[in-house]
Amino acid sequence: MFDLKGRVRSTYTDAREQLSARKDGMFEKADTKVLGTRRRSVGLMVAGVAALGTMFTMVSSNVMAVNFASSNNSYKIYTDRVIGQYAAGFINAQQKQNGTTPVAQIGFKQADLFGMCVIAQQDIVGLGTVSMVMTGGEPVNGTVTDPTKKISANELYIASNSLKGSGENISRMTLGQSADTLAMDTITSHRGAPGAFGLQAQLMQIGNLDADSYGIDLQGSINLPDLNIRVVPGVATKTSCTS
């Protein structure tokens, strides 16, 4: 006979004994040895922070590009002007941690941003709401002041339920194209459902853009001259971009 009951019992007893022995060992170790973070940690910490600082400088001086992808539920994006080449958009339900929300999924094959300010909110237990303000390029104050600090993004996707700006120059725009036939020049992956509403444009230059976003996704890379990241308590507004 296969004594299953006995085997389970013996395994259980073994495990208990082992655990108990381990616990005893832990207590013994805790009492006899002094273990802890040694001073050499500081060396690595300094080296790590220095490396981070170097990368930050490289990004903000336009040497290095970064990736960005988030479907956070509280983003505000501001820019003085965006010149988007090959744009496509369709309606979608953006998945969030707590359900879905309707958004327009707008993609640019290539986008030049004159100043960029991203404000992200995060609720932190014990701290309440904090806002992270990320700025790059020229100051976001409504007018293009320094075109040399242009931010270039490849394959930029924004999920937005509200996008406001001034359409300064738009060409070859199609409204109502079946969303499954959308294309951003050669990119055909940014598509919606067959028969659904789609928007496509070869050029979209929008000035003074304010967007409420539920997600930013950068398939390509972005350069962020004059990168600055600040944490502001509470809810930050557009004025926080320049102050």
């Binding site: 802890g36 790590g48 969030k96 398939q219």
Partner: protein, 140 residues
């Protein structure tokens, strides 16, 4: 007013003390604080990207980077806690992951995740046997 029998209260206090003693022993036998910061850094990256797993799987590296790097940091933190033997290895790798997060996961979760990871990873890496505490006490 209900008063618990003295024996009952004593038992409670004893249980609490035992738990505290266990926690202290747990804390002292592993890179607890370093692991905590490293793990929180990983969790921060994950929550900040706020990506559904389906989206991450369908989206390629950009969407899944938060899962790979944030999840890696969390895993190394747990390894540091439950297998302190490897603390030097996982601590160092954790720092590297935190640095990688800056370029690939939303600027390291707006720097916060990267900083937590560097501090925590370094602490885990540097964890080990120190001079006995008693000597210190006697010297003082």
């Amino acid at each position: 007013m209900t008063t618990l029998p003295l024996s009952q209260r004593a038992a409670d206090v004893a249980a609490l003390l035992a738990a505290l003693r266990w926690f202290r022993a747990f804390r002292r036998t592993r890179p607890f604080w370093g692991g905590l910061w490293l793990g929180l850094g990983g969790i921060w990256l994950l929550t900040f990207a706020n990506m559904s797993i389906g989206l991450a799987l369908g989206g390629g590296w950009n969407q899944s980077a938060a899962y790979v790097i944030g999840g890696g940091m969390l895993m190394f933190a747990l390894t540091a806690w439950f297998a302190p033997f490897y603390s030097a290895l996982v601590g160092f790798t954790g720092v590297l992951l935190a640095l990688a997060a800056f370029v690939s996961v939303n600027l390291g979760g707006f720097l916060i995740g990267s900083l937590l990871g560097i501090v925590g990873g370094a602490m885990v890496w540097g964890w080990g046997e120190k001079k006995p505490r008693k000597q210190k006490a006697e010297a003082a």
